[in-house]
Amino acid sequence: MSKPKSILDKQQIQIIINRLCQQLVENHDDFSNTILIGLQPRGVQLCQRIKAYLKSINSKFELKIGSLDITFYRDDFRRREDPLIASSTSLDVSLEGKKVVVIDDVLYTGRSVRASLDALLDYGRPLSIELLVLIDRRLSRHVPIQPDYVGCTIDVVADERVSVEWGDNERVILKSE
């Protein structure tokens, strides 16, 4: 495996998150009818970062967030060597009539997002569902799914892996497998 290549550093990620938040504000007013849902495991971190920044823009925003685990809805169960282990789902509000923003770190084949649509509908009938991603791996979709809010669009070959690392040493890297 060659050395990972850095795509975004900590400061660039923060600038992108700030822009994504401003775009959300344009479409969601005071967020009173909106729920931000991070996909387990890595979308949850981004969701929390977005919540924190939105709060700093306007402390009166009525922000509601949740996390969704899609393990039991995936279409590759029993088709891969390593079994799928579930994470927890935390959605303590009904999605009936709400504007939902699904948040994930990387959009690749689109299969996780497709599974998340199935999972979300089990919690009620939302008014609308939008998709926000930090990284959009263009030209690699297996299903017709496109994001509404995109942090950064990149083109990479199939055997390369885009990975978002959170924490002190925050960055987006490209690894070849």
Partner: protein, 309 residues
């Protein structure tokens, strides 16, 4: 550990602690699923499961069937009373005929100890033991331990006494294996005639007196007297058994601490447990039933992982 170390669930004895931890962790997720508006996930939608019950059952059969339906599996129900078993068909022939109809997994209850192990040696699909004679009832033990974990946060270090007909109980044996593996202290209590001869070799203590056992424990698991499995008299009368080993409110209230009361069902009210105890806040009997569905969903989900299509 992200996968079970076994292909079948034949008994707790075949499992490792990591397997139980994985089943509990998965059951946590399924418990969330069965408590939301749409209590169903599509995970096993291309799997067919046959429930073979060669012995009567209400709770376990319904619980397995519900778990399968919550996972979107197709189910096939078979009960020996209305089948060709009555015409002399052997177990393997019956099962092979069912498998020829493209069934992917089998849940079986059988009156003979070892029946599920025998089957696992002869057929190629995952087998879940839903009770085999007086041997094991692994999913009951898992849901009992899971209920203790839910109540106390951890099973490790808890003191559990199993009271009643230990000799004829598959629930007792599976519970002992499971609780010991998870680090609980276990005692058994009941008439000495209903104790297996070498019970202490399993690392459990025997306490002949009910009140001493209750004072010692955090959790009391009350078992039914299995009259259908008793061919001789093990004690003079049910009334006398009830006087010596029945749990009533007066006995429960006289203890120096609040203990938790469990029962795997079916309850014989007035024999091993009185109604006021069974319906009290200290009893978690209905929680056990709810947890049973989540545990069985977890077991089926994890075992289905080995079925490749």
């Amino acid at each position: 550990m992200s996968t079970l170390s076994v292909k079948h669930l034949l008994g707790i004895k075949n499992l490792q602690k990591e397997d139980i931890d994985l089943i509990f962790k998965t059951a946590d997720n399924f418990k969330e699923v069965i408590n939301r508006p749409i209590r169903k996930v599509p995970s096993l939608r291309d799997i067919t499961i046959a429930n073979l019950f060669f012995e009567n059952s209400t709770r376990t059969r319904l619980s397995f069937e519900l778990a399968e339906k919550r996972l979107s599996a197709d189910t096939l129900n078979f009960s020996a009373a209305s089948s060709s078993v009555k015409k002399g068909e052997t177990l393997i022939d019956t099962v092979n005929n069912i498998l020829a109809m493209k069934v992917d997994m089998i849940v079986m209850r059988h009156p003979d100890a070892g029946a599920s192990t025998f089957l696992a040696n002869h057929v190629d699909v995952p087998i879940v033991n839903a009770g085999d004679g007086t041997h094991e009832h692994p999913t009951q033990a898992l849901l009992d331990a899971y209920s203790i974990r839910e109540k106390y946060g951890d099973v490790n270090g808890k003191k559990v006494v199993i009271i009643g007909d230990i000799l004829h109980s598959r629930v007792a044996l599976s519970n002992i294996f499971c609780l010991k593996m998870l680090g609980a202290e276990v005692k058994v209590c009941g008439p000495s005639t209903l104790m297996p001869k070498y019970i202490e070799s399993l690392g459990v203590g025997y306490e002949p007196y009910l009140m001493t056992a209750l004072e010692w424990c955090d959790v009391a698991n009350m078992l039914r007297i299995q009259l259908e499995r008793q061919d001789t008299k093990f004690f003079p009368s049910l009334k006398e058994y009830s006087m010596m080993y029945g749990l009533n409110k007066k006995r429960l209230d006289s203890l120096s601490k609040q203990i938790t009361v469990m029962h795997p069902g079916p309850i014989n009210r007035g024999v091993e447990i009185t109604s006021d105890v069974a319906d009290s806040k200290q009893a978690i009997i209905l929680d056990q039933v709810e947890n049973g569905v989540a545990i069985r969903m977890a077991v089926l989900y994890l075992l289905a992982n080995s079925i490749k299509k």
